[in-house]
């Protein structure tokens, strides 16, 4: 499939794209068991050109989710393990002197991959963290005065251990804002865990799974996501949610305009993923906790401390127009 496909070809292409997306979801579900919702959200995040932050305890499948995403979507994959002595150059790369050519050559770092897994991002120093976050934001890297573009599509999956663990630098709110979504995987349910324990090794499975998409197709899908219809009543709904988040006494910091844009982008991607003919309120509600959870700050006297509950409070309080 080529980028230059004409409008006339689109309907047929669309069907194929949808089929490919469904296959990708199915493949991902077969590797990461019992996490349909999270996988849909991760896919939606990717389709909306956003970056994903997965926050959970170690051993819950964060890495395997990121790896399987790269594999199924046919993206190049790099993993950076963040440690407290990680330097920015370890992330973005360095210029080294090439003896043969007698000149400095840029040696790209692990950030130059279409899907980068930044593991345990909160264990590195803020300096190293910001090197990654700048790359995410600008989609380019400047080393020694030269700008190097990052590949397209570009997708960062950062994982973070809950911040109350020792020796961590939790990401500040301003940095959290750069992630379109924050997910929590949580423990698998009984049945999924049993299937996991009795089944084959996940990493071995991963090798066998064929990629269902490629980078170009993903680009087209991302373009199509932006064309998903957003109706007037839905805009009203998003505005009502945003307004409520700013006015509710339970919430100290409500959603910013960027947060509102993120909400619509994520909802669009989710609607696209589920083949909705437009963005439905259900799409907004499904992505709301992931998009808004890390952007809302509960009021100091509020009884609601959990971001998930806070999101639920907003959704349950705002009528759908």
């Amino acid at each position: 499939m080529q980028r230059g496909s004409t409008q006339a070809q689109m309907p047929a292409d669309k069907e194929m794209q949808k089929a490919a997306l469904d296959t990708a979801r199915k493949s991902l579900n077969s590797i990461v068991l019992g996490k349909d919702q999270e996988i849909s959200l991760a896919l939606a995040c990717l389709l909306a050109r956003g970056h994903l932050l997965i926050e959970d305890l170690p051993g819950l499948g964060k890495t395997i989710l990121a790896q399987s995403l790269a594999r199924v979507l046919g993206l190049s994959f790099q993993r950076i393990q963040f440690t407290s002595d990680l330097l920015p150059a370890d992330i973005v790369g360095v210029s080294v002197f090439d003896q043969k050519l007698a000149e400095f050559r840029f040696q790209p770092g692990p950030v130059f991959a279409q899907l980068v897994l930044a593991d345990e991002v909160n264990r590195a120093t803020p300096k190293a963290q910001s090197a990654l976050l700048e790359a995410m934001e600008e989609k380019q890297v400047s080393v020694d005065g030269k700008t190097h573009n990052l590949p397209k599509p570009y997708f960062v999956v950062a994982t973070q251990n809950p911040s109350d663990q020792i020796g961590t630098f939790p990401l500040p709110e301003s940095q959290l804002d750069r992630f379109l979504m924050r997910l929590q995987l949580g423990y698998p349910n009984e049945a999924s865990e049993r299937a996991l324990l009795t089944g084959t090794d996940r990493r071995a499975m991963l090798e066998k799974i064929p990629p269902t998409l490629d980078a170009d197709t993903l680009g087209i899908l991302q373009d199509n996501v932006e064309r998903v219809h957003v109706s007037e009543p839905l805009i009203d709904y998003v505005q009502a949610l945003v307004r409520f988040s700013r006015e509710s006494p339970e919430i100290e910091t409500g959603l910013s305009p960027r947060g509102a844009l993120a909400l619509i982008a994520a909802a669009r991607a989710h609607a696209f993923l589920l083949h909705h003919s437009g963005v439905f309120p259900d799409d907004v509600q499904t992505v709301f906790a992931a998009v808004a959870g890390h952007r809302l700050k509960p009021a100091s006297r509020s009884g609601i401390r959990n971001p998930g509950e806070l999101s639920r409070h907003v959704l349950d309080s705002v009528a759908i127009p």
């Binding site: 219809h229 009543p233 839905l234 003919s277 437009g278 439905f280 309120p281 259900d282 705002v318």
Partner: protein
């Protein structure tokens, strides 16, 4: 327990407004309330505010109950073991409002406080209904409304905004209130009417007269009555407002008789002078006497009767301001013949009192030769000899007329009238004393005449054969300016009439005159809007034969129209956006399903719940849900709405 009595500072923002509103509505009562009630109110408000500020606990229930009992007993004690009436009632209300503060913990209690505030405002109307109290009471209502809004509005709304909202609310209510006031049927003697406490401590004429009575009245600026003339106004020298007639003398004071109506009294008058038509608005006196220009020949309403002494009296004591009209003629003659018994009655006096005066009268009468000449001699004596007209006459002893005529020679109208009447009786001429008012000031702003208590006057009538009763005012001989220019003219010259005794400047005098004109309109049109005025107004509006049913129906119609108009105005202002046809259809669906969607429940979740809780056909539900989402939120599609309509009607048929 601590949770129940504790405060958390959440009322801190709105409490000062509530307390302020309450203070503002209690303020008009303060001068009538016992001091301890005001002290209780102030200390409770201060305590309540401080408790909220420091987040202390409110006093426990037993203490509040004990305080309430104590205050109740204190009110019983302050008001002579009664709690009925305006005084104890408003004191009770103020005290209970104060104590309510001590248990005001949540917003609901604050509501109660503001209700009490409104009630206090209404209660102050039971005490006084002056024109100037109206703006104050309106302001009190406005402040209470604002406090109400402060309580329920979000914290960041400015005070000015709340004030504007409450003014707007009052403005919306104004036309309805006005319609209620105009059309609510008035009943002539409403059984619920509370007599307005205005006559206590106020001066007025009483049914007997002893030296010093009227001069004490002269210090009062209070309005006795107001008169509006239909045509010509009588000259000052003719402005004798006849009140009651005194004819019994005990040597010191003169007394009259109970106001018994005499149906033939009117026929005894043969009047010739100019006729004056006028209306009088009489302030409450708690007595029966009606004042009319000497001599009234016709009057209305029927409840006014004329007594045998040609005085007018009301059937009931005048507890409220009344209005009556009368026709008077200034030249008249009455009773050209007097029976022997009557002549005897009107010449009686105690022989053992005032012996010098009696002796003097008999000597003069013998010297004069005829009654007329004798009267002239006495009048001339008052005029020529050294008699003085003064507001501060010396105190008189056992034989007051003797003392006055021969020693002090200083007196006020009652001294001259009393002395003159005695001199006449001693000489065998029938005489009596008329109490009333003399004078009156024409108010150029309201075109009405004000007669004040300071215009109170006493004069005499003597009976002469063939001429009947003649008015003779001995004061006119001593102080003719009293009769020509009125009371204040006699004392101070032209200016300061309405200030009676102390008018500092001409402009102030003008100001009081214009205020009085306004007050007269207020009395006539607002307070005097009783059954008669209402009937007249209804007729003027074109209602033939107004009765309470017609008025009530009009009232209901007007109030309905008012509410509809205001609602339309408000609805147009806050008009909701036109409803999406898809949303309307979906609304039909949810109503038919019989399960209202929850706030924030998406159509999918709703469909899920519907499947779980009811026996609805799930494929129908799913079809409606998906078509609704498509029509409302999906890519615009001209068939989507039609499909939704089909799905909904199918669902309705199947359900």
């Amino acid at each position: 327990m601590s949770r129940r009595n504790g405060t958390d500072g959440s009322l801190l923002a709105s409490l000062p407004y509530t307390l302020g509103a309450l203070a503002f509505s209690i303020a008009p009562h303060v001068q009538y309330l016992p001091v301890w009630v005001t002290v209780t109110f102030l200390s409770c408000s201060a305590a309540r505010w401080y408790i909220e500020k420091r987040r202390w606990r409110l006093p426990p229930a037993w203490l509040r109950i004990a305080l309430a009992m104590l205050c109740f007993l204190a009110i019983l004690f302050s008001y002579n073991q009664t709690i009925s009436g305006v005084g104890p009632g408003s004191a009770l209300l103020a005290v209970m409002g104060s104590l309510k503060m001590l248990e005001t913990r949540v917003r609901r209690d604050q509501f109660v406080l503001l209700f009490i505030s409104i009630f206090m405002i209404m209660a102050s109307l039971l005490r006084e209904q002056y024109l100037w109290s109206l703006p104050y009471l309106l302001a009190a209502v406005l402040i209470t409304m604002t406090a109400w809004l402060r309580m329920s509005q979000a914290r960041d709304v400015s005070l000015l905004h709340s004030l504007r909202s409450s003014s707007r609310l009052l403005l919306y209510a104004a036309p309805i209130a006005l319609a209620m006031w105009i059309f609510f049927p008035r009943i002539s003697t409403p059984f619920w009417s509370v007599p307005i406490d205005t006559s206590s401590g106020r001066s007025g004429l009483s049914e007997n007269m002893s030296p010093g009575d009227i001069s004490s009245l002269s210090l009062s600026d209070a309005v006795a009555f107001r008169v509006t003339f239909d045509g010509a106004v009588p000259p000052p020298s003719q402005r004798y407002w006849r009140g009651l007639v005194l004819h019994q003398f005990n040597g010191r004071s003169w007394t009259g008789r109970e106001p018994l109506p005499d149906p033939k009294a009117r026929d005894r008058i043969s009047a010739t002078g100019d006729a004056y038509r006028y209306q009088v608005t009489l302030e409450p006196t708690r007595q029966h006497w009606i004042f009319a220009l000497d001599i009234p020949v016709d009057w209305s309403p029927e409840t006014i009767k004329m007594g045998s002494d040609l005085h007018l009296a009301y059937t009931f004591p005048i507890d409220q301001r009344i209005r009556y009209s009368a026709v008077s003629r200034t030249r008249y003659s009455v009773d050209s013949q007097l029976t022997r018994m009557a002549r005897d009655w009107y010449t009686r006096f105690p022989e053992e009192r005032n012996p010098r005066s009696i002796e003097y009268a008999r000597e003069l009468r013998a010297a004069a030769g005829s009654d007329e000449r004798y009267i002239n001699t006495v009048i001339r004596a008052f005029h020529d000899e050294e008699y003085f007209y003064t507001l501060q006459p010396p105190v008189l002893g056992r034989d007051p007329v003797d003392q006055f005529l021969f020693q002090t020679r200083r007196g006020f109208c009652e001294h001259y009238a009393s002395a003159f009447a005695l001199l006449m009786r001693a000489a065998g001429i029938p005489s009596r004393i008329v109490l009333g008012y003399q004078g009156g000031e024409l108010n150029p702003y309201g075109n009405h005449m004000i007669v004040r208590q300071s215009d109170a006057h006493a004069w005499t009538e003597v009976w002469l054969a063939d001429r009947g009763w003649q008015r003779i005012d001995p004061t006119a001989a001593v102080a003719p300016e009293r009769i020509e220019s009125g009371m204040s003219g006699a004392m101070f010259g032209e200016i300061g009439a309405s200030w009676g005794l102390n008018a500092p400047a001409e402009w102030l005098h003008q100001l009081t005159l214009s205020l009085d004109a306004l007050n007269a309109r207020w009395n006539e049109w607002i307070l005097g809007y009783g059954p008669e005025n209402q009937e007249r107004f209804m007729k003027w509006l074109g209602m033939s034969k107004p009765d309470w049913q017609k008025m009530f129906l009009t009232l209901i119609a007007l109030v309905t129209i008012g509410i509809v108009v205001i609602s339309i105005v408000l609805m147009r202002r806050n008009r909701p956006p036109p409803r999406d046809p898809a949303a309307v259809l979906y609304g039909q669906f949810t109503r038919k399903a019989g399960l209202p969607p929850r706030t924030g429940e998406t159509p999918f979740d709703y469909a899920q719940r519907l499947r779980e809780t009811s026996v609805q056909q799930s494929d129908c539900v799913d079809r409606v849900t998906s078509r609704y989402l498509k029509a409302r939120y999906g890519t615009p599609d001209e068939h989507a709405l039609q499909e939704l309509e089909d799905a909904v009607s199918k669902f309705r048929r199947s359900a």
